[in-house]
């Protein structure tokens, strides 16, 4: 049955293209019919909304006809409503002529953006979206007027993906504002945003943004198909739909990139990726994403290329450190002491002398403690934030060593690992290292270096098997493509980087032609 549903919905959605308001309430108890009889309509709406304190239904006269304005006052600007709708409606009474819907709109509400609702579902949908819906006796459709907007948080600096040089604005919770931030940056007429409504209860607006003359059609179809397939109660953040459209859920690696930076999104769109905006979430997803995307920050392109290449290397190295350092410690100190230089070994062993635990227990407990502190630090009220850092630093750092419970070296290793795991520009990528680190420690405790390597090989095999929207997750590295090496581990100067990543199969593989080095050509002969 589940399979049947899956196939059925897929087929249905494929034919449908964009989902609009009226299809939403089909499965619910609402009748669809919109009557010509004014009283029946009013009754129907009243039945649905009458328990709500913010629902208003004001009877007015438009010309010689009875009409009423329905709206949820919490969703629109009351002043605007009075100014633009109610007062304008008064003039119609004076006017007194018999008009139809279109002329009424033309004459009295010419400046307001509007939509007609010709069935009951649409009326309800418009009310829920903050329109003022005017129903007129005898008309076969209702007029929905958009009035004012609801307040949003102001655009602020990014809080999770900060940079030093570059644009400092971040997305907010309103999808319109977010899209406008992208539109302001890209003035390409092919920049398209397709909207979908996802969630049985929330009917959240989800928009796919792409540049039509760059983005590969097959990948785009796949994105559309997966978003239409989503069947979920509510979408409160882009994280909700991420799990529905990802290629594989059972993996510690994120297969979908998210960012709160408009400039990053613009860069991705121009590379030939699709961005998924979700109303109510300041985090925008981009697909397809590959592993190396998570090691890049938009600042890489604003700083000199030598520096950003170096920083990228640092990121890869710190990823490895965050992943394997604790397990290397376990492996080396329990199995392969001969790999350490004698003096270092002596110093480590001397420190470990009074420690009552084997290295693996020691490191497990410390890593666990750190994870607890980290979670506490994120979750706790700001006002008591100081406490954790003091308690953490004093108790875990110093007192534990002085009490002889753990060795100094180990504290250094745990601290260094923790710092290294914060280097990744995208927070949710560090989840992979946080989870796999513990497994690795276990492998190191059982099989030593052999176990660590075996696990790493298995991890690489797993990575090689992953795909994000049909693009191999390790694209650029495996399958190796020499053309993409200009923007993976290092970044070459922008004027030399003319190609879009080949793994995205962009329609226009060349970014721009004819760029040359800005440095002047070497002088011929001696100078005069």
């Amino acid at each position: 049955m589940g399979l049947f549903n899956f196939l059925f919905y897929r087929r249905k959605n494929k034919d449908k293209g964009n989902v609009t308001g009226e299809e939403f309430f089909q499965e619910e108890r609402l009748s669809k019919q919109y009557f010509r009889n004014h009283e029946q309509n009013k009754q129907q709406i009243d039945q649905l909304f009458n328990k709500n304190f913010d629902f208003k239904m004001e009877s007015i006269k438009l010309g010689d006809k009875d009409a009423c304005v329905c709206y949820l006052e919490t969703l629109l600007n009351k002043d605007d409503l009075t100014d633009k709708v109610l007062s304008a409606a008064q003039y119609t009474a004076i006017d007194g002529t018999n008009r139809n819907m279109d002329t009424i709109r033309d004459t009295y509400f010419p400046t307001l953006s509007y939509e007609y609702a010709d069935n009951f579902h649409r009326v309800v949908w418009h009310i829920l979206n903050g329109y003022a819906v005017i129903m007129i006796d005898g008309e076969e459709k209702a007029l929905s007027l958009q009035i004012g907007n609801i307040e949003h948080r102001a655009i602020a600096e990014p809080s999770t993906q900060t940079i030093i040089r570059g644009p400092k604005e971040a997305f907010i919770e309103s999808i319109e504002t977010n899209i406008s931030m992208v539109r302001r940056r890209i003035k390409n007429p092919f920049l398209t945003f397709e909207s979908f409504h996802v969630g049985r209860d929330t009917k959240t607006t989800v928009a796919i943004g792409y540049i039509g003359d760059i983005m590969n059609e097959d990948i785009l179809d796949e994105v559309r198909m997966r978003i239409q397939k989503i069947d979920i109660g509510g979408v409160l953040d882009s994280g909700n739909i991420e799990e529905f459209i990802t290629d594989k859920t059972f993996t510690p690696f994120p297969l979908i990139f998210n960012t709160e930076r408009p400039d990053t999104i613009c860069g991705d769109l121009m590379e030939g990726k699709a961005a998924i905006f979700v109303d109510g979430s300041p985090f925008v997803l981009t697909v397809p994403s590959i592993l190396t995307d998570f090691f890049q920050s938009s600042e890489d392109y604003y700083q000199p290329f030598l520096m950003s290449s170096f920083v990228r290397m640092i990121r890869y190295i710190s990823f490895m450190i965050a992943l394997v350092l604790p397990s290397l410690y376990v492996a080396l100190s329990t199995f392969h002491q001969e790999l350490l230089p004698t003096l270092l070994l002596l110093s480590i062993q001397a420190q470990r002398e009074g420690v009552p635990f084997p290295a693996v227990i020691e490191i497990f407990v410390m890593e666990l403690t750190f994870e607890i502190m980290r979670e506490a630090g994120v979750r706790m009220p700001r006002a008591v934030g100081q406490t954790v850092s003091i308690v953490g630093a004093l108790v875990i750092g110093q007192a534990a060593v002085e009490a002889g419970l753990v060795s100094n070296v180990l504290v250094i290793i745990v601290a260094f690992t923790a710092i290294a795991s914060f280097v990744t520009p995208i927070y949710n990528f560090s989840i992979s290292t946080r989870l796999l680190r513990f497994v690795l420690i276990l492998f190191a405790a059982i099989f030593g270096l052999y176990g660590v390597l075996l696990f790493l090989v298995a991890m690489v095999i797993h990575l090689a098997s992953l795909r994000s929207f049909s693009v191999p997750y390790l694209a650029g590295v495996a399958p190796f493509t020499i053309e993409n090496q200009d923007d993976i581990f290092v970044r070459i100067p922008a004027w030399a980087n003319r190609k879009r990543p080949t793994y995205l199969f962009a329609k226009a593989p060349i970014r721009e032609k004819g760029n040359e080095s800005p440095s002047p050509p070497p002088a011929k002969g001696g100078s005069k």
Binding site: L339, Y450, A458, A464, S465
Partner: protein, 375 residues
């Protein structure tokens, strides 16, 4: 026959696989040590013959593009006899896979985990290989690509590190060709030719899955050449570091050579690290034979090979423990028995035997299509 899982690897992935495959277990056990200080020369000559061999294999494959060796057998010998030959090859591949696995198990238990049972090492490693092959040939190719830089650069770095440690004695290379070419040739055929170069026969299963089949010949020839150079380089390091006498005595020559490394009073005992680098070579090598065997089974019983991954892996693990009582016996088998009774027939004689049949049948088929007109 289930054709839903048609997997392709790129030319570069093929080259990487051949390269890692070739230098994989050679780095562990070492070959051509009987030729003493001329071992590198023996490897050079064997590489030349190895390239001829892979060209010959390519010649066979090109007769029936897109068909692997098992399908070629069926084409040549008919359904039933072809299946018998294919079954023999499956046995051969599985057997060699377990031998390679044993090589590595011995290495680990000798050098690192003296008290660990060899079965533990083999089973854990086999589980990783299973995982990889279960995910398919594409994943295998990509994984090999990821590890190539490490394998390659570490083998290069060993030589440089030994040189910087001042442990190389270039006099060890002399006298060159003290006993003439005769003994060298005797060592090349069949031992050095069949291992590692003749083992490329397993690629008769993989090469047909390459995207640009027409270029596969050149690429694989090139890969053999490069890996020949690397093996030569390894031999060269082992000879100049250890000297011919010690080279003959030692069980794991490259490892003994790497033990001499001592740099900055910090980088010491790197031989352990080398064991782990070699690990990926072994994984590749076992996987190639394992995959070849699995594809053979797929051809024999018309079921997707994924069904057989775990059962055959269990068999390989069991075989690799049971094939010999100890390492000395294992090596003795590998040097005295295997080359003559298994490598030569399967790598050289049988392929040569099918050549006339293949040409004759191919011509007959062509005439047939010419007569009846192509579809």
């Amino acid at each position: 026959m289930s054709k839903s899982l048609v997997e392709k690897i790129s030319l570069w992935q093929l080259a990487v696989l051949i390269f890692i495959f070739e230098i994989g277990s050679v780095a562990v056990v070492g070959v051509g040590n009987e030729s003493k200080q001329d071992a590198w020369l023996a490897v050079a000559i064997a590489t030349g013959i190895g390239i001829c061999l892979i060209s010959f294999y390519m010649f066979l494959l090109k007769k029936l593009p897109g068909k692997n060796i098992f399908e070629i057998f069926t084409f040549c010998f008919g359904k039933w006899f072809g299946k018998v030959i294919s079954f023999l090859y499956v046995l051969y591949f599985v057997y060699i896979a377990s031998r390679v696995l044993r090589d590595f198990g011995e290495l680990i238990t000798t050098v690192i985990f003296e008290t660990t049972p060899i079965e533990v090492v083999m089973i854990t490693m086999m589980m990783v290989i299973c995982y990889m092959l279960y995910l398919g040939l594409e994943v295998f190719g990509r994984t090999a690509e990821v590890f190539l830089p490490y394998v390659f650069s570490f083998i290069l770095l060993i030589g440089i590190a030994i040189l910087l440690s001042g442990e190389m004695e270039f006099e060890n290379l002399q006298p060159v060709l003290a006993e003439g070419f005769g003994p060298i040739m005797k060592h090349i055929f069949p031992k050095l030719l069949t291992f590692p170069f003749g083992e490329l026969v397993a690629f008769l299963v993989i090469i047909p899955a390459v995207t640009h089949f027409d270029k596969a010949g050149k690429v694989s020839g090139f890969a053999v050449l490069v890996s020949g150079f690397i093996i030569m380089y390894q031999k060269f390091i082992a000879i100049v570091t250890l000297g011919p006498e010690q080279l003959d005595r030692t069980v794991f020559p490259l490892l003994s050579a790497a033990r001499e490394i001592s740099l900055l009073q910090f980088i010491e005992r790197v031989d352990l690290v080398i064991v782990f680098i070699v690990m990926f070579g072994i994984i590749t090598k076992v996987s190639v034979f394992f995959y070849a065997g699995l594809k053979g089974l797929e051809h024999l019983v018309n079921l997707p090979y994924r069904y057989f991954v775990f059962p055959i892996a269990a068999i390989i693990c069991y075989c690799s423990v049971q094939i010999s009582a100890n390492y000395a016996e294992h090596i003795e088998e590998g040097l005295k028995f295997i080359p003559f009774y298994m490598h030569v027939p399967f790598q050289i004689l049988l392929p040569i035997a099918i050549t006339p049949l293949l040409i004759w049948k191919g011509k007959k088929q062509q005439r047939g299509t010419d007569k009846h007109g192509s579809v």
